[in-house]
Symmetry: C2
Subunit: 191 residues, 2 copies
């Protein structure tokens, strides 16, 4: 009875949105991940440090950001439940991070290191396929962000964010939304 | 003797930079592609149209671009030999293109349609892996472009382009480089 009431593992549910897994396959996948708990304000990636882990968000909200020479913060990306986050250039090329990632809320995450990710995707076509699809979506999202940085006003970008991620706009402090949109806190209030 | 003098197919050389292939595997892969020749100024993707093909560049140079409401051209991306290009959001979601792609020079390309790409990558782990790596690199490049749009001056972005793709800067008209960098032709001359 207890088994029947148990929920499916959230990572399994997430992967199975793309393709089905057997119990055995999921156990094998999960064995490559390590649970990580972080408190609000703790970091996952620190600018200038080596990056050996990619994280999947079970619960919580994070930001990827850097400061320019004048100490102005730029937010590159947010992440919430079911999103994957790291500095991919640093992770992929095993070099030092060019931005930081830290927690806007207390976070529960699953971490996978570079060697485990390579092993898992080369041994298991399904995981290669799953990550290929996720990377494709991330690439498309970043292409859209480039287009919108060139094409749209801050007001339009705010409306797009509101339409696409209403929950994010609720959860993230207005000051950070302003940094993401590249406007001042005062301009954001007027939007 | 003739066989000995024949060059390896450029697509095979390109894929084998990531992983080795047997002759049989490469013949199977190549059977999914169609050769395409385009003259300078002809387009591959037209804004507003459905996009059913991804292209790999054997020879030539292309630009992905759109015009804003004031008729100002924005260049999203260039492509040269060994690059893959399409409107990936439109191709992946089988929706209408949000930008155009056309030829800056006469181009020789290989085209693959959506169904063939899906079939090839689901039947052949090696091709899934190859495209996953290429998509990862494209994602990293677009993340860097977002960072540099936020972080760097036009002068710095021009120097980065010059360092990374000296050949591109030679081949592409200055007016287009200016559109890519988001500066006027006059500003670019001063850089």
């Amino acid at each position: 009875m207890k088994d029947l009431l148990m929920h499916i593992h959230p990572l399994r549910a997430h992967i199975e949105e793309v393709l089905p897994l057997t119990d055995q396959e999921f156990d094998f996948i999960l064995s490559h991940f390590t649970p990580v708990s972080k408190r609000k304000h703790q970091y996952l990636v620190q600018e200038g440090e080596l990056v050996n882990k990619e994280h999947w968000v079970i619960k919580g909200c994070l930001k990827a950001y850097f400061f320019d020479q004048n100490g102005k913060e730029y937010i590159v990306q947010f992440a919430m439940e079911n999103w994957w986050i790291t500095d991919y250039e640093a992770f992929n090329n095993q070099i030092r991070a060019s931005f930081s990632v830290d927690c806007i809320e207390d976070c529960e995450l699953l971490a996978i290191d570079y060697a485990s990710r390579e092993k898992l995707s080369s041994e298991m076509h399904k995981m290669e396929r799953f990550w290929a699809k996720k990377t494709k979506l991330a690439f498309i999202a970043s292409q859209k962000r480039i287009l919108s940085l060139c094409r749209n006003t801050a007001k339009e970008r705010y409306e797009m964010l509101l339409n696409q991620y209403p929950q994010l706009v609720q959860r993230v402090p207005k000051k950070m939304l302003a940094s993401y949109l590249g406007v001042s806190r005062e301009t954001l209030s007027r939007l």
